[in-house]
């Protein structure tokens, strides 16, 4: 973990800025989410204060910073509460995907043969399937039993992301297993389980943060899409940005821009931030992609023409060997 932090700090240049910006923006949303009850001026389904109903579609003003929408809700509050919903759903769906995908991957990689082939084929098919359609089908199915709150939404998204974790874990398991048999034959006592736990864990832990973050970005988009189509979380259960955009569509035709702009902006910002974090992590952790900034070679005499003074980026060929 410490090695990871040090690696992250060592990445210079643009990659570092991107990672930083992503983390900062994500952190802001996390704060909004956690402290929503204290930050948001009103509840997410609140359409009146002190017995007086809010004005419908009020312009942004001192009273309502981002205005109100056509359901009389305060948009600023909806945005803040929406952050909480978004984070809850993302965390839940990633969590569920992990607890299904990882064991399945382990099983498949370890068992091998027919079981493995079958599971891989199924997971590949799931992966190839349009993710939104899959989520729609799941939402359709779960609606009857689990209703349409946060948990239902998270479960709808779970199926979409299971194949990715499955794949990573399975591939790592297979490669470790093939090395393990050789080791186990020679090693006295160290069982395959211990070896797998040590090597497997390390490798998987390296890829999971990247996959998880990029999944989170995608999950948010899918959640908002479900909400926009009316298949997501109902407004009385929680505030969800996609749903608000659905309501804003008709009003937008009339020129009312604020109910549409702000929830959408929130979605774009958070997804972009999460993508930045994911890509930034990828560039820092993936040794093949690491590009170090180095000073161009210079000769110590003034009469020698020197290349442009900017640092250049070269792939990290640690070892200093050349042809």
């Amino acid at each position: 973990m410490l090695r990871l932090a040090r690696r992250l700090w060592g990445t210079k240049g643009l990659a570092r800025w991107i990672l930083l910006i992503g983390i900062v923006i994500t952190a802001i949303f996390v704060i909004l989410a956690i402290f929503a009850p204290w930050i948001a001026p009103y509840g997410f389904a609140q359409n009146r204060v002190d017995g007086a109903k809010f004005v419908k579609l009020a312009h942004p003003s001192g009273e309502h910073w981002l205005g109100t929408n056509d359901q009389f809700y305060d948009i600023w509050s909806r945005v803040i509460w929406g952050a909480r919903t978004a984070l809850e759903v993302i965390l839940l769906s990633v969590f569920f995907s992990l607890i299904v995908g990882v064991p399945l991957g382990l099983l498949s990689g370890y068992a091998g043969r027919a079981t493995d082939k079958l599971l891989v084929f199924v997971m590949d098919a799931l992966y190839a399937f349009p993710s939104l359609l899959l989520a729609i089908v799941m939402a359709f199915l779960l609606n009857a039993k689990v209703g349409n709150g946060v948990v239902a939404a998270a479960l709808s998204l779970t199926v979409v992301y299971i194949p990715q974790y499955f794949r990573v874990v399975r591939n790592t398991t297979v490669s470790v297993r093939e090395a393990t048999f050789v080791e186990a034959a020679r090693a006295l006592g160290a069982g395959p389980v211990t070896i797998m736990r040590r090597y497997l864990f390390g490798n998987v832990v390296q890829s999971v943060p990247v996959i998880g973050t990029l999944n989170a970005a995608d999950a948010l988009g899918t959640l908002a899409s479900l909400g926009f189509l009316g298949l997501g979380i109902q407004p009385t259960e929680a505030s969800e940005w996609g749903y608000d955009l659905n309501r804003a569509l008709d009003d937008a035709q009339a020129g009312t821009w604020w109910p549409a702009l702000f929830p959408g902006l929130a979605i774009v910002l958070l997804i972009t931030a999460l993508t930045f974090v994911g890509e930034g992590l990828n560039e820092s952790l993936n040794p093949a992609l690491v590009r170090r900034r180095v000073k161009p070679a210079r000769f110590d005499r003034e009469d020698v023409p020197v290349l442009a003074g900017d640092e250049v980026e070269v792939p990290d060929l640690s070892g200093g060997g050349t042809r």
Binding site: F129, L133, S225, I267
Partner: protein, 340 residues
């Protein structure tokens, strides 16, 4: 070392044969998903308006009381004959839905691809060539943001922007009602039919602009990043260095050597974006009141019409598989090295 380890017809034949196992898996998946439904589709669709006896009749009519294996067999057999069932709520055969509304989805997706390619490939190429420049950073940011922005939001923004500039520009539907009424149906693709009938093609095209732009922008995010990565990769190629050693000017090296080779994997991957494009089409159609299969899907889902949903989803699965095979074949045509 001869070149004909395999030949083109051979490759195509094998690729087409591989459709069968792929479809089998997908169909099984759809079947399991929809049968696994907690709760009973019939009672859900009925919405509590029928008593138990009538519900049983319904179930029997749909064949839901037979053993699962029998249902599975029937489902597969129907799928092979391209029978997707009839909607529970209004009895419309799903094949009719596909016939009547498939064309709209088709023109939308084709238009979006055109936008994505026209925008994404030049941008990606520029970014790849001038790697690490400010322009490169900007283009990469564009690629990320454009993909992160929800299509329906982009659509709404476009609608608001266009309305502010030109109130008369169409922001909803596939054509004005008059056009729809007047144009005789031949191909069931409105754009083509209006061309054939020479009736107000401009109207139809105008209606296409915003939706294709919205969907195309999202896709261009993918295309841009894809092209950029492949151009960067191609520029590292050995043949690129050899060309430079022969004194070929850099602009030509990038164009004729790096870019051309970069395009090969790009074309393939673009073709494989059909899954994402379908998802995006569903959203776009619901934003612009587009009379395509995406709107149908959502409507039937909201009506809890499980047969229609099953039929439409099966159809989408078909499309995904068929397109991926076609893309592979086109790739084989373009790249002389690919043969089985």
């Amino acid at each position: 070392m001869s070149s004909s380890r395999g030949s083109l017809p051979h490759y195509i034949a094998i690729r087409i044969l591989l459709i069968i196992p792929m479809m089998l898996v997908l169909l099984t998946l759809v079947f399991i998903l929809l049968r696994v439904a907690p709760g009973d589709p019939v009672s859900a669709a009925a919405g509590g308006k029928l008593n138990e006896h009538e519900l049983d009749l319904r179930r029997h009519a749909l064949g839901l009381d037979r053993p699962l294996i029998v249902q599975y067999g029937d489902y597969l057999w129907d799928a092979v004959r391209l029978k997707f069932g009839n909607a529970m709520s209004d009895g419309t055969p799903v094949t009719t839905l596909i016939r009547d509304h498939g064309g709209a989805t088709l023109t939308l997706t084709v238009g979006a691809f055109i936008v994505a390619i026209a925008l994404g490939i030049p941008l990606g190429r520029y970014a790849g060539r001038y790697r690490d420049s400010a322009a490169d950073a900007g283009i990469r940011l564009f690629g990320i943001v454009v993909y992160a922005a929800p299509i329906f939001w982009v659509g709404i923004l476009l609608i608001m922007a266009v309305n502010a500039i030109d109130r008369s520009w169409p922001t909803s539907g596939i054509a004005s009602p008059v056009t729809i009424y007047e144009v005789p149906t031949h191909t069931h693709i409105l754009l083509l039919d209006s061309l054939i009938a020479q009736y107000d093609v401009v109207d139809v095209l105008q209606h296409h602009v915003l939706p294709c732009l919205a969907l195309g922008l999202m896709l261009s995010g993918i295309v841009t990043r894809l092209t950029r990565v492949n151009v960067v990769q191609a520029l590292k190629g050995d043949y690129v260095e050899a060309a430079r050693a022969r004194g070929i000017p850099e602009s030509r090296v990038v164009r004729k050597h790096a870019f051309r080779n970069a395009l090969v994997p790009v074309i393939t991957v673009i073709g494989l974006q059909v899954a994402i494009t379908l998802s995006g089409a569903v959203l776009t159609e619901n934003t612009f009141n587009w009379p395509g299969l995406g709107t149908d899907l959502v409507n039937y889902v909201l009506a809890r019409d499980y047969v229609a949903v099953q039929g439409l989803v099966t159809f989408f699965a078909f499309i995904v598989v068929v397109v991926s095979v076609v893309v592979d074949i086109v790739n084989a045509l373009v790249d002389p090295r690919v043969r089985y």
